[in-house]
Symmetry: D2
Subunit: 388 residues, 4 copies
C-alpha cells in the first residue's frame, strides 16, 4: 500500500512514480548565480495574427473570451475567472507567430531578479517600466536560452472577475488560462534550465534508452504552467484554457459543428494520460493551437510524485488510446524575437515520438506485457500510411 | 421561418428536411396483405458469444448491466430503467453471431399478426408458446426477407425497475436499450420492407445520384428502433444502450482506460450528425459492436420531418468532423438462422460510403460550397493510406 | 426477482407498483359513447400575462426560448428541438391566467372526434377552421368537465428544428415542452375522465384511506403529458420544459442569481421521487409557475407498472427529502373560459397534502418503519410555523 | 472597466472587492516574534465517532472514500487524488468530537517553527517524533489560542494516487480534501491570529456596523483552507471534500435517497455566493457535518481581491437565495483538547447571522435597492416560525 519514496515504483495504472524526474542532461545551460524570480503563474500569451477580424470571431464570438480592450490593431481578452487585465493579446501582424509567453511574478522585486537572471545567462533582455502591452506595468522581456520570448511582470491593472456573471457565460465558458506548451529540440536541456528558473517537473514521457520526449513543469500547484515537447523549435505548441466541466468542452465542439467550422477541431476531445485532464485541441484561423482543458490534479506538495510514462504506452497521451493525429506532432507556431522577427527553428536530432510510436519502426501497446497487436482502429492514420 | 412541407428544404444546419424520405426501390419485397403487427419498441438482442466469462466481465463488470438470470450457458441482462425481464441475452456458442433481434408488440394478438405477416412473405417462421428464451412467453421468430432473425412477443415477466436504485448505479450507467443497427446490401429495398412492417424513416444518408447509404427508422418516438446500413449483409452492425448524460459515456471510456482495455473503444466518443445524439462505439470480446448513446430527439409526430444528409458532408456521422475509422464501415457480426447456423453474407453492389467519402476517389467537405481542402487531421487514416 | 403482475408489490425503493392505478371514483363524469380523439402529445400552453415586456425578458432573455413570432400583443415561443410553430404563446391581458392547454392529435379526423367527444359531454365547444392562434389551423377549444380550457389540433406550421444549432443554445437550453400540471379538487374524478380521453396513469400519491392527492397521466411514452394535483381548482399548477442534462437546470439558477432574480426560484433544484426526474420550479413575472425537468423514464408499454407513493413518504416529491415550500402547494394560476373570463375556483374538500404531511396533524417519514423523528432540517418551514 | 485597487469597489455581482479585508480587531492575540511555519495546505481531520461501523458505512460505503488502513478502533481514509496517507481519521470514542485539524507544512523545519510559534503564544504544545496517528511522522499538536486542536507535520507516508483508477470511482467520487470550517465567537480576533499564522483572507461576510459574521482564509490558492464562522465555539462546523463536477454531488443525494437516508442531507445542493462553489452539506451518523464542494476559483495572486458580502444579501450563502436551515447555523461538533477532553464552548456575544437575516428583527434582500419584500418561498422556515 505504502510507496517507497526512494524507489521508482510501477503503479497499478501502468506508469511509474518517483521522487525525482528521470530527466538528465549532459549539455546543461549554466545555472546562474543570480536567484531566480519567484514565478507565480502563467499569465498571458501575446499572439500575432494575420487577420484580426477572423481571430476575433474565433476567440470572442466562438470561444467566448471576454474583451478587456480592443482597437483595430489589437484585442485584449480574459477568461471568466481572471481578475488581471488579460490572458491573451491578439496583435495584427504579417506573420502568424507568438510574441510573448508571459508569467506573473510574486513581487516587483522579482522583476529585477528576472532581469538579473537572464542577463547573467547572456540573453537579450529588455525592460520597460510602462510595460510592453496595455494593462501591465514594469516588465522584463527576454529571448531565453531556448529562443523563446519570455516575459515577467508583477504590476497589472485589475478588472472585474466575471465568475459570478453567469448571465454572460456560454455553454463552453473558459474560466482560466491554464498553461503553455513549447516545442524545443532537447527536452532534458530545456527542463534543467526551467528547473533553475524554479519550475518543478510533474510528469514526463521517456523510453528505456533514456530519451525524453516531453516534460511537464509547474509553478502553480497544477500539472503545469508550461511543458516542453520534443521537436523542431523554438516553437509554440499550444496555449491552454480551462473550463469547469467536461460538458463545457463538448459544447465547444457542438458549436463549431453548428457553425460548420468543425475543421477547427484538430484532436480530441479525450482524456489525457499525462495530467489525467480532459482535453480538446483546436486550431485558430492562423493555425495557432489552442487547448481546452479541465480537471488535472493538485501538485503543490514538495514531494509530489513525478509521473513517468513509457513512450510506447498508447494511453500516455490519450487514456482511451485514441491515435494522435500526425499534425499534432508536426505543426507548431513560430515565435518572435524581441524585434518581432521569427526565431530560426532548429531540428530535433533525437528520436521523435511519432516515429517511435506509430511510424514504420515504432510500436505502441495498450498492455505492456501483451503480445497481441493493437486492433486496427487504435493504430492511427500515420501507421496505415507508412504501411502501404 | 415557416417551412413549406411540400418541398425539400435546406436547413441552416446543412442538411435537408422533407415530408417523405427520398428512399425508393425498383426491387421491392412484395407488401403482404396481412396487416403488420403493432411493434412497440426494440426489446432485446440475443447474442452468441464464444467465451461467456469474458462476455460477462465486459457487460456486467465493466458496463454494469444488471443480471436478471445467469447460469453457465447463458446470462440475461437489463438496463437500469427496464421493467421487462431483459434487454440482452448472452449465450455461449461456437461462433460469435446474433441469434435474435427482438421487438415487443402491443398485444398478444400482434404476435398472431407477425406470424401471418411473415408467413405471407414466404419466410421461415417458428412460433413457441413458451418462448425461445427465459422470461418471455408466446413468441414468433422468423428469418426475415433480408436474412435477419427477427422476433416478436408480447408476454414477458416483469422485474423491478432499478431507476431509483442509485446505490447500484455506476458512473457509466446504462438506462435503456435504445436501438439495433443492421447491415444489408440494398438499403432502399430494406427500408421499403420495414415501412411495410410499420416503421417510419426519420433520417437517411444519400447522394445526388440517389444512392442511399443508410436509413434510420423508428416505431417508438425516438430517431430509431433500428437502422439499415448499406454493406455486405445480413450482418449486425451494433446494438445500442442509452445513458442519461454525456459524462456517463465519458466515464465508460475512463474506466476502460483504467482497466487497460482502451482497445475496446473503436470510435468516439463524439456527437452524431444523424440523430444529434452523443455516442461511443465499443467492441466486446467477440468483436460485437455496442454503441452507447444519449440525447436524440422526439420523432413521434406523424409529420415529423425526415432529415436527409449528403454522404459527402463530413459532419453527417460525426458533427465534429472526426474521421470514421475504417473498421466501423467494414466489420460487423454474423447473424444466425433459426437453426443456429450463420447466414450467408451477400456483398453490397452499390457504392460504399467509405469509398465515396475517404477513399481514393471519394471526397468529403465541411462546408458544401467551400473549395478548400479539409485539413489533414480531418481526412482520416484510410485516405492517407490510399494516397501513399 | 420476478414481479407478480396481479399483485400490488412493494419495491426495494419504498413505493408500490401495480398494473392498475388505485384511483377510483364514486362520482364519475359519464363516459361518452363517442370515441376519444387520439392525442399525440402536449403541444403548447397559451398564457395571458399582464406585462408582455417583462414576460419576454423572462422567457426569451433569461430562459432562452426561441421566438417564432412576436408583436406588441403576443409572443410565440418554442423550445430548441421543436418543429411545430410554438410551445408557448404569451398574450398581453388584464389578468394573469391560462388561455389554453393545447394537445396535438394524430390526424385531422381526431379534431372531429374531440369536438364530438366534448359535445356529448355537454361542454361548451368552439371550433375554428383557421385556429385560435397563429401557426395552427383547424382547432377545437372546449371548457372541459373540470373547467379547463383544452384545445385539440392537428394542422400546424412547421419551423426549423434548432436541435443542431448549438451556436444558439444557452447553458440552460430548453429542448422540449414536457408536460402540464393542473389543480383540481377531486383527483380520482379527474383521472377517470382523463382515462376516458385516452390517458394512462403512470404514478400517483395516495394514503391508506384511499385519498388520492395527485395523479400523473400520459399519452406520449413519458411519465406525463399532464398531471392532476389535488387542490382548489380549476387552476394551472405549472407548465414544464425539458433540458438535456441536469447541469442545464443548475445553469438557469446560476443565471437568475447573476441577474439578481433568484427570487424567481420557488422550489428546487432537486430530484423528484415521482417520475425520478431532476427538477426546478420557477415563478414568472405574473407568478405563473414553470418547471424545468429532465430524465424521467419510458412508460410506453401497455403494461407499464403504475407507481404508487404513500403521501407520508417524504421522498415522494423530493427524493432527497427536501421540504416542499408551502407556496408550491397553495399557489396556482387562474384559467380562462372561452370568453376569456377567469373560471371560478372550487375548493378541495378532501384532505390536503400539505396538511397531512407537514401540517400540525400531519407527519412524514424517511423510512416507513422508523419511529425516529425526522431531523429538524427535513421538517420544513410550515411545520415549524405551526408548532410555535 | 479597470478597478481602482485603492478603493472598495461595488461589483456588478452585488458584492464589494478591496485589497484589504475589512476585518479588524481591538482585542488581538499578540503576534509572536517567532516566524510562522509555512503551511502548505489542509491535510486531514481526525474525528472521534461513537459507532465506528456506522461511520464506516457512511464514509466508505456511501461516500466512497478509500481505505488506507483500518482496524476495529480506527479507520484511515483518503480521497481519490490524494498521495499522502490519509485525509480523514475516524477513531472510536465515547464522545462525538474533533481530535485534530491537521495541516501539512512545507519542510521538516516548519514543524520546529510551528512548535516555537505556539510555545511563544503560551499554548499547550505537544510534539511526537513518531506522530500522533499512523502514516505520519514528526508532528506538533497544539491547543491553539482559539481552543482548537491544530496539528502540523511534514513527514508522511506516500500511497498510490487513485486519480486514474476510474474502475474504483463511484458516481459521487470525492477527489480532494478541500477545507475545514471552524466556529469561534470572535471572528476578527480569530482572523488576525490566522493572518499571523500566514493565512490570507479571501472573502468575508459583514454588515455596515462592522460586525463580521464569517471569514474565509487560505494557504493553498483556493478560496480557503479553513474558515472562521461566528458562533459559540470552539466547535467544528464542517470538513469539506471536493468532487470534479456538479453531477457528482447530485449523485450523492440520489444515492442517499436510494438508501432511504435522505435525512443525512442537511442543506443544499446549491451554489454558494461566497466562493462561487457548488455545495452540499451532509450530517454523518454522529452529526458531524461534511460538505461536498466543487469549483471555486484561483486566489493565489498576492493582490487577489478580497470579496466582501453584506450579511443582508440573501445570495451570499446561497446564490439562488435558498434559505439556510437553522440547524446549519446552530449545530456544530465539539473539539477535543490534547487530553481528549471536549473543550468548553464559549458563547458568541456579537450579533448572530441567523438573527439579523431571518430572525424577527432581521431582514434579507435579493436586490439591495429593492423595497419589495422577498416572496414567501425565500423567507425560510425560521422566519415563519418566529412570525407566528
Amino acid at each position: 500500500m505504502t510507496i517507497d519514496k526512494n524507489k521508482r515504483t510501477l503503479t497499478s495504472s501502468g506508469f511509474h512514480v518517483s521522487q525525482d524526474a528521470p530527466v538528465n542532461t549532459d549539455n546543461p545551460i549554466p545555472t546562474p548565480e543570480a536567484p531566480a524570480p519567484d514565478v507565480l503563474r502563467v499569465a498571458y500569451m501575446e499572439i500575432q495574427v494575420t487577420d484580426l477580424a477572423a481571430s476575433r470571431e474565433f476567440y470572442v464570438d466562438i470561444l467566448g473570451l471576454h474583451v478587456t480592450y480592443e482597437d483595430d490593431k489589437e484585442i485584449y481578452l480574459r477568461s471568466a475567472e481572471e481578475f488581471i487585465h488579460h490572458n491573451l493579446v491578439l496583435k495584427q501582424g504579417d506573420v502568424a507567430a507568438v510574441g510573448a509567453f508571459s508569467y506573473r511574478v510574486r513581487s516587483p522585486e522579482d522583476v529585477d531578479k528576472a532581469e538579473a537572471f537572464y542577463t547573467e545567462l547572456g540573453c537579450r533582455v529588455e525592460r520597460r517600466a510602462d510595460g510592453f502591452v496595455r494593462g501591465i506595468g514594469d516588465s522584463v522581456r527576454v529571448e531565453d536560452p531556448l529562443g523563446f520570448p519570455y516575459e515577467f511582470f508583477y504590476d497589472v491593472d485589475h478588472v472585474e472577475r466575471l465568475a459570478w456573471r453567469y448571465d454572460l457565460h456560454i455553454p463552453g465558458e473558459l474560466v482560466r488560462l491554464d498553461h503553455f506548451n513549447q516545442v524545443t529540440p532537447d527536452v532534458p536541456r530545456a527542463a534543467r534550465y526551467m528547473q533553475d528558473l524554479g519550475f518543478r517537473i510533474t510528469e514526463e514521457i521517456s523510453d528505456s534508452d533514456g530519451t525524453v520526449y516531453a516534460a511537464w513543469m509547474r509553478r502553480k500547484p497544477t500539472v503545469h504552467d508550461t511543458a516542453m515537447t520534443g521537436g523542431d523549435g523554438p516553437r509554440m505548441h499550444h496555449v491552454a484554457f480551462a473550463t469547469h466541466e467536461k460538458h463545457n468542452i463538448l459544447a465547444i465542439c457542438d458549436k463549431l459543428g453548428a457553425l460548420r467550422r468543425s475543421d477547427a477541431i484538430e484532436r480530441g476531445p479525450g482524456r489525457h494520460g499525462v495530467s489525467n485532464a480532459f482535453y480538446l485541441y483546436l486550431r485558430d484561423p492562423d493555425g495557432h493551437r489552442v487547448e481546452i482543458y479541465t480537471q488535472d490534479y493538485w501538485t503543490g506538495d514538495p514531494d509530489n510524485p513525478v509521473v513517468s510514462w513509457d513512450v510506447h504506452d498508447n494511453q500516455r497521451r490519450d487514456w482511451w488510446g485514441t491515435p494522435v493525429v500526425p499534425s499534432w506532432y508536426t505543426d507548431a507556431s513560430l515565435v518572435l524575437d524581441l524585434d518581432g522577427k521569427p526565431q530560426e527553428v532548429v531540428e530535433r536530432t533525437e528520436e521523435k515520438e511519432m516515429d517511435v510510436t506509430i511510424g514504420a519502426d515504432g510500436f505502441s501497446y495498450t498492455r505492456a506485457d501483451d503480445d497481441e497487436d493493437m486492433p486496427d482502429w487504435k493504430k492511427g492514420e500515420f501507421k496505415l500510411g507508412h504501411q502501404l
